[in-house]
């Protein structure tokens, strides 16, 4: 396997223009002769499907939900960045690029990240034209706010539901193309394998989740926009259905998987309340602007928060990071919360949580100000926990939120399998080792609206049509394999449900490959995971049949893939003997306990190649070259 990032030549600011000019074009009359399959209907997949159909390509789109409007992009709250500089506060494409590269702790590819910043402005124009109701000022112009520690106000938002509005924008563009007959939409269909013939992606095999029917779909290119793998931890802020299956099956067919250990843990989520917990809910990070985070000083202090006197409280972020205090970056505040709980100073019934206390802010500003700023969040907290955060401090704990790692792609967003493209959170390209707030929506839409429509034309122009149809022997063989795997899941006849295995895996990953990792823990995980896998195939219990709607069956297939995938994550985390961004290896920290990056030995993308289930995958390195920015150390003291 050879990794060629295909970064265009020329100065950074001209690369994308040069590349577009040098790309092959498809004559408008010929576009309808080319077909593409898109898996996933979120920001990246929905936008890509709509845009390619507008251009005249013949596009099919598949999603596992009952409608493309349900994709998990819909849950994003905060906003979307763009370098519009509407606030006249010194923003520019280069500044957005620089912030993204630095935020990613210098582990992303310069050319991709620059392009992302470059097209960010087009996204806002596009969304407004679609009727996305972004927040506005009284004068009628668009409002912005600052987000995620940025020093400029470049974040566009639609109340607390920006992801929903952007997704519904993409969904409307997609609907228009479906209505015009340019897109064939397949709802409640799950991709279960990729078909590769003579080294090129030729199509996919899917299961109809209502009838159980397995079918083959061929196309000239396959595009995965299937999101991240945060549910490997079982508990995360992801939707229940989010899974790694499409990406993992592509990996098994030869697509390298890059930087799987880069997983972002968000510091302000509502803590787990019991073993039955099915997901975790994010509370906007903005709460940290006025709330003070603390844990009791004493181990095992069971008194209610109000009875713990001031001098027995440890405002640990203020203590450790006096200049940033409660606003320390995501990775740092997440790790500190974990440390407090690991020391036995956690709060709440489960002792896995810390306080986020608004008492001082309420005393200083008055309750009405706090209500004005955070009223909806306080209501949400009360709805979920049954506690009134005005009178008792909130309890928070970090949760898995976003995955920066993903399928390796080149500058064209093409994977190591020709004809297989990967967009949005599912690829690895733009965020390095850590993603900044309000950048996920930007990347999904950039890939879908403004990158793939160009690079796919270039691919079709250079590679031509695929001659393989869906009755090819390889499709039939894959269908048989998929059907057999389904039967195998149903026939184990053991005692444990898919969820019980998923919880067990999640716990191991959270403990050993979560917020902080070390060699011993990772090696231990690499021993436990194969044992879970083995038990899974001997003791799984799934009722019902394969020719019907069967949610346990769907779930079991996804859990099986998560179990295998978890091993690559651990191999990656073990190999990366440095701390960078969201990846914190305990052995590699400064005397003050800060992340210690090792640019000399690890300034590369780690792309893993499948070598068989249970085997260590092969590592391929794509060196990261920084020609336009200087690699600096992050400091928040």
């Amino acid at each position: 396997m050879k990794l060629d990032a295909k970064i265009p030549s020329g100065p950074l600011a001209e690369k994308w223009d040069n590349h577009k000019f040098e790309s092959k074009l498809i004559n408008p009359a010929n576009k309808r002769k080319f077909s593409a399959i898109v898996v996933g209907s979120g920001l990246a997949g929905g936008a890509a499907t709509a845009t390619m159909a507008e251009l005249g390509y013949n596009v099919s789109c598949f999603c596992y939900q009952d409608s493309p409007r349900r994709a998990h992009s819909i849950s994003a709250q905060g906003g979307i960045n763009a370098a519009k500089n509407y606030q006249n506060d010194g923003d520019s494409i280069f500044r957005l690029f620089y912030d993204t590269i630095k935020g990613g702790d210098f582990r992303s590819r310069e050319a991709n990240t620059y392009r992302l910043a470059e097209v960010s402005n087009n996204i806002i124009d596009q969304c407004v034209a679609q009727g996305v109701p972004f927040a506005r000022e009284y004068g009628g112009l668009l409002d912005n706010r600052s987000f995620g520690g940025a020093q400029v106000s470049r974040t566009f938002y639609a109340r607390g539901q920006t992801g929903q509005q952007l997704l519904l924008g993409a969904y409307s563009a997609l609907n228009r193309q479906i209505g015009l007959g340019n897109v064939k939409m397949y709802n409640r269909m799950e991709m279960l394998d990729l078909v590769v013939v003579e080294g090129r992606a030729r199509g996919i095999v899917v299961r109809d989740m209502v009838t159980g029917k397995i079918s083959s779909h061929a196309a000239d290119a396959v595009i995965l926009a299937t999101g991240g793998y945060g549910n490997v931890f079982y508990l995360s802020t992801n939707a229940k259905g989010c899974n790694v299956t499409a990406a993992y099956r592509a990996y098994k067919k030869g697509a390298a998987f890059a930087n799987p250990c880069y997983t972002q843990i968000h510091p302000t989520c509502i803590p787990v309340s019991g073993d039955y917990q099915s997901k975790l809910t994010l509370m906007s990070e903005s709460l940290r602007n006025d709330g003070r985070i603390w844990a009791p000083k004493k181990v095992g202090d069971n008194r209610p928060a109000r009875q713990i006197p001031e001098n027995e409280r440890d405002y640990y972020l203020e203590r450790k990071y006096p200049s940033f205090g409660n606003l320390a970056p995501r990775d740092i505040s997440s790790r500190s919360a974990k440390e407090a709980c690991d020391e036995g100073r956690g709060v709440g019934e489960t002792k896995v949580g810390v306080y986020l206390d608004f008492t001082d802010a309420i005393n200083r500003l008055g309750q009405h100000v706090i209500t004005e700023r955070y009223g909806n969040l306080f209501d949400m907290y009360e709805r979920i926990t049954g506690e009134d955060p005005y009178s008792v401090p909130m309890r928070i704990y970090p949760a898995s939120h976003y995955t920066m790692g993903g399928t390796w792609v080149d500058y064209n967003l093409e994977s190591t399998i020709p004809g297989l493209f990967v967009l949005g959170e599912a690829n690895f390209s733009d965020h390095g080792a850590n993603r900044l707030g309000a950048s996920a929506l930007m990347q999904g839409l950039a890939d879908g609206y403004f990158v793939i429509p160009y690079t796919i034309g270039n691919f079709f122009g250079r590679s031509g049509k695929s001659s393989v149809k869906n009755d090819h022997a390889e499709f039939k063989k894959t269908e048989t394999e998929v059907a057999e795997r389904t039967k195998k899941i149903l026939n184990v006849g053991g005692k444990r449900t898919p969820d019980s295995f998923h919880r067990e895996l999640g716990k191991v990953m959270w403990e050993n490959c979560g917020m902080s990792r070390n060699k011993t823990g990772l090696e231990e995980a690499l021993k436990i995971i194969p044992a879970i896998r083995e038990e899974f195939w001997q003791n799984l219990k799934v009722l019902g049949g394969d020719q019907e709607l069967n949610q346990s069956l769907e779930n079991a297939g996804r859990v099986a893939d998560f179990i295998e995938f978890a091993e690559i994550m651990c191999y990656d985390a073990l190999m990366r003997e440095e701390s960078c961004g969201a990846h914190f290896r305990e052995e590699y920290q400064t005397d003050e306990g800060e992340a210690k990056r090792n640019d000399k030995d690890f300034a590369y993308v780690a792309a893993w190649e499948f070598t068989g289930v249970g085997n260590k995958p092969n590592l391929h390195k794509e060196p990261l070259v920084f020609e336009n920015v200087e690699m600096a150390t992050r400091s928040y003291k």
């Binding site: 939900q65 034209a129 009727g131 000022e137 609907n175 049954g386 969820d499 019980s500 009722l543 709607l549």
Partner: protein, 247 residues
């Protein structure tokens, strides 16, 4: 706490279906309603009874996938709350809870508590969009929009497409759903150009999908988890009348 559940079980679209009684034991008040069902399902599996099929995904009240009628009310007893955000502390030990799917001709049952809402997608495909292609759009600030109009558009755009409005309406009307989208676009200059075609196409599709009309029961507004207001239906009617008059 312990609860008795009466749950609609229906093997597939052709099956007649019936209510089944299950016991939910040791339910924590901290659980969400769907987590309670997860626990019941794990339990049923251990008893070799097929788990109850129900739609759900984000579990944070925004994707619109969850769709249960609880004791006769879509999304259950709490105001402005989807089922996934409803917590068990609103029930008490010994309660009997009846759980059914959305019921409407335009939402045929797929299995158990899962219904087919593709009729909603078809309405959107008929006209729930502004006809712009990607690229070549003017600068986002080229056209100022008053905050008031923009906020009203956002109130309509907040709809999550769950279908509770249809399930609550004695006429199984989709007018609240359609009016939310119509209101969003009617309040934005970008949406005005196709206003006439849009409202006609969406209403025609709504009718052909088998949804009923609005006769002002206001049940839709009462159950809407996003508090979409009934006066949007007034706007829909105005837009429709305008479109007919301008022919």
């Amino acid at each position: 706490m312990n609860l008795t559940l009466y749950v609609w079980r229906q093997k597939n679209a052709n099956d007649k279906g019936k209510m089944e009684k299950y016991e939910a034991k040791d339910i924590s008040t901290h659980m969400s309603f769907l987590e309670m069902l997860d626990v019941v399902n794990e339990d049923l599996t251990q008893q070799d009874i097929e788990p109850i099929a129900f739609d759900h995904d984000c579990r944070e009240g925004i994707c619109g996938m969850c769709s249960l009628v609880i004791n006769g009310t879509p999304h259950g007893p709490e105001k402005a709350t989807t089922v996934c955000q409803l917590h068990m502390r609103h029930f008490k030990d010994g309660d009997k809870i009846y759980i059914e799917p959305w019921r409407a001709r335009a939402f045929p049952i797929v299995k158990d508590l899962i219904v087919d809402r593709s009729s909603f997608d078809k309405i959107m495909q008929a006209g729930g969009f502004i006809s712009v292609n990607t690229g070549g759009t003017p600068d986002a600030n080229a056209l100022p929009i008053s905050k008031k109009d923009s906020d009203t558009a956002m109130d309509g755009a907040a709809c999550i497409g769950c279908g509770a409005c249809v399930a609550a309406c004695p006429n199984a009307s989709a007018m609240l759903f359609v009016s939310a989208k119509i209101t969003q676009f009617a309040n934005l200059p970008q949406g005005k150009i196709e206003a006439k075609e849009r409202v006609q196409a969406m209403v025609a599709q709504m009718d052909s999908e088998g949804f009923g009309n609005c006769s002002n029961h206001l049940e839709c507004e009462a159950v809407c988890p996003k508090e979409i207001k009934i006066n949007f239906i007034g706007q829909l009617n105005r837009e429709y009348i305008k479109s007919v008059g301008s022919k």
